[in-house]
């Protein structure tokens, strides 16, 4: 088991390093930060001074080494815009984003899983078909279309809710709905197919055959098995808590991490972009790690495949 953890953590670190490197390459090759930040009319000597100040004159590999070394020490650099620490800039946006994504996640789980389970248990029924149609719509409609539609209906037409901004809890309702509906649709579909797969397994009939009431067959025998594939997608959703709202934040002018990223990329504010990417990579990787361990917890077959004997296997 120890070996397993070390390997997984090692792999996670490598993933993060690759993401950081990739970000560096893409951002540095797509334009001169000095030019973009200072504007096209900036005099050459100002540009030169800016480049010197930020080390942009050094060969690219040296810049990369500096940058990587700094990250390894937890130093993520300063914003080229206002010189504030990038971590500080990003950190103050995190709670703002979480204020959208956490309620949205609750919405996804709270609607998606029960809807999926219900549809699977009533396969072919009217409800099943409605759930399926809604869920197909839910994940084929892009979030900006959904967001704008919600704005049109609830803000413009009905005037019930504000269309953008972050002044009160009422401003959060539409973005949360936009995020939640799409995710709930995906989750419902996933849960439904996982559940159908499990319900078709012989052990479900075997459980009925030994006299387990249907309710308990579902809760004790079917759900724990259906949870195994569903955990993957939930893990992915947890991984997007920080950066999954880029589009929605833009649509609703919600000043979270997503908006910050869009602005920072447009401005070639390297340190901030990299900081966000690092954060995103880290949350994805960590949520993946958690999923892996959850698998082990949910599925005894994986536990022993990892070379660890199941609980009762110890002498």
């Amino acid at each position: 088991m120890g070996r397993f953890i070390i390997l997984r953590v090692g792999r996670a670190l490598i993933t993060i390093a690759l993401v950081v490197t990739f970000a560096f390459i893409v951002l540095r090759l797509s334009g001169d930060p000095a030019q973009i930040i200072l504007g096209p009319e900036a005099p050459p000597e100002v540009l030169a001074a800016f480049r010197r100040a930020w080390g942009l004159d050094d060969p690219i590999w040296l810049q990369y080494l500096h940058y990587f070394g700094a990250i390894a020490q937890g130093e993520l650099g300063r914003s080229m815009r206002d010189g504030r620490s990038a971590i500080e800039i990003v950190a103050e946006r995190i709670p703002i984003t979480l204020a959208l994504t956490v309620p949205a996640l609750v919405l996804k789980l709270g609607i998606g899983i029960p809807a999926g389970v219900y549809a699977a248990l009533h396969r072919g029924s009217l409800t099943d078909r409605i759930v399926m149609i809604v869920s197909v719509a839910g994940f084929t409609i892009p979030s900006f279309v959904l967001g704008l539609t919600l704005v049109l209906v609830f803000a413009v037409q009905l005037g019930w809710l504000p269309s953008g901004g972050q002044d009160s809890w009422r401003h959060a309702i539409l973005p949360i709905l936009t995020l939640g509906i799409g995710g709930a649709a995906i989750l419902a579909r996933f849960t439904r197919s996982a559940m159908l797969e499990v319900l078709g397994q012989p052990f479900i009939r075997a459980a009925s055959a030994k006299g387990v009431p249907w309710q308990d067959v579902i809760t004790r025998h079917a759900l724990p098995n259906a949870a195994i594939p569903t955990v993957t997608i939930i893990g992915f959703m947890v991984g997007t808590l920080i950066a999954g709202a880029v589009v929605v934040e833009s649509v609703f002018s919600w000043p979270g991490v997503g908006r910050l990223l869009v602005v920072a990329v447009a401005n070639r504010d390297l340190a901030v972009v990299q900081c966000i990417l690092l954060l995103v990579a880290a949350t994805m990787v960590i949520s993946n790690l958690i999923v892996d361990f959850l698998y082990g917890f949910l599925d005894p077959r994986l536990r022993s495949a990892k070379g660890q004997k199941a609980a009762g296997g110890q002498p």
Binding site: R205, K210, G211, H221, R301, G313
Partner: protein, 333 residues
């Protein structure tokens, strides 16, 4: 009616249809207390469906007709609470693939314990003690340690032993074993059949053994019913039926079995294939493949008429032979 009540389980004109296609055409079969009955037939003959229908274990789209009674109590259409008490408590089932019939994420001790709690109200220390006793009974070595293990940690044969332990946990009066050894190696098959026999003898439990393997049935059962295309075509005591099968299909099945000793002979092969239940012939379903087919076979469906001591056969050709014999012996009017 008195006949029905004297039997432990009685199936009466049991029918099953899926999406309007009839797959079971009126099964009449009884099982007495402590009796071992075999159901033999090829895939699609309806041998498993018969028992799944009787216990209400078919999917919702199945339409079930006729009757299945346990000690006179009707099971078809019975409320779930009744069925849940019968399943596992009065009639237990084990199936072909033990590995997939056990829940992969629940330890075997818990799965056996579930049955104990449901049907005998045993839990906690008493439940654990009884689980250990059962695992011991079915020959799982080192039960105290293995009780926490999961199905994937056992071999196929051991999983089938666990299934049997789980079935016995409810102290059923009848065990329905659906191809219990088909997925197992020959030597392990012998172990499991031996175990089933021993337990049956010790507990006086009735057994319904469903198998395509004539040998397995013959060595285990008192009585046997041969099924073809959703009907019983021959039924009788095991000795009588296997030593002198009367239905051409039963004869063909036995003839298809290569001998293990004595001179080799060309196998009797039944020509053609099992008919699609959607495209059954108008008369006897076996007629198109039958070497003894007479003209009646194409238009009428034979019923299980008494023909020989210890046998009942559903066959017009056989009926004619029997009548001829009776006439020549001067018994007929």
């Amino acid at each position: 009616m008195s006949d029905r009540e004297s039997h432990f389980v009685a199936l009466d004109e049991l029918t099953v249809s899926f999406d309007g296609v009839r797959v079971l055409h009126g099964i009449n079969l009884t099982v007495s207390r402590g009796e071992a009955v075999g159901l033999v037939g090829e895939s699609g003959s309806g041998k498993s469906v018969t028992w799944l229908a009787a216990l209400g274990l078919l999917p919702g789209k199945a339409r079930i007709g006729g009757s299945a009674t346990l000690e006179g109590v009707e099971l078809i259409g019975a409320p779930p609470s009744t069925l849940d008490r019968v399943r596992g408590g009065r009639i237990a089932m084990i199936s072909q693939d033990p590995a997939s019939a056990l829940n992969p994420v629940i330890s075997i001790g818990k799965q056996i314990g579930e049955t104990l709690a449901l049907h005998r109200g045993l839990s906690g220390i008493a439940g654990r003690a009884e689980t250990l006793r059962l695992l011991d009974l079915v020959g799982i070595p080192d039960a105290a340690r293995r009780i926490h293990a999961y199905p994937h940690e056992f071999s196929g044969g051991q999983n089938q032993r666990v299934m049997i332990a789980m079935a016995l946990a409810g102290q059923p009066d009848l065990l329905v074993a659906d191809e219990p050894t088909t997925a197992l190696d020959v030597t392990i098959q012998a172990q499991i059949l031996d175990l089933i026999q021993t337990i049956r003898r010790e507990l006086g439990m009735a057994l319904v053994l469903i198998s395509h393997d004539l040998g397995v049935i013959a060595e285990t059962c008192d009585r046997v019913a041969v099924m073809y295309a959703g009907r019983i075509v021959e039924e009788g005591t095991t000795g009588a039926l296997f030593d002198d099968p009367r239905h051409p299909y039963a004869q063909g099945l036995l003839g298809s079995l290569p001998p293990l000793s004595g001179p080799r002979r060309r196998l009797v092969s039944i020509p053609g294939v099992v008919p699609d239940p959607r495209l059954l012939p108008a008369g006897c379903a076996f007629a198109p493949r039958c070497p003894k087919r007479v003209s009646t076979c194409d238009s009428a469906i034979p019923t299980l008429g008494v023909s020989h001591p210890g046998h009942r056969v559903a066959c017009f050709a056989e009926e004619a032979v029997v009548q001829e014999q009776a006439r020549s012996h001067g018994y007929a009017a």
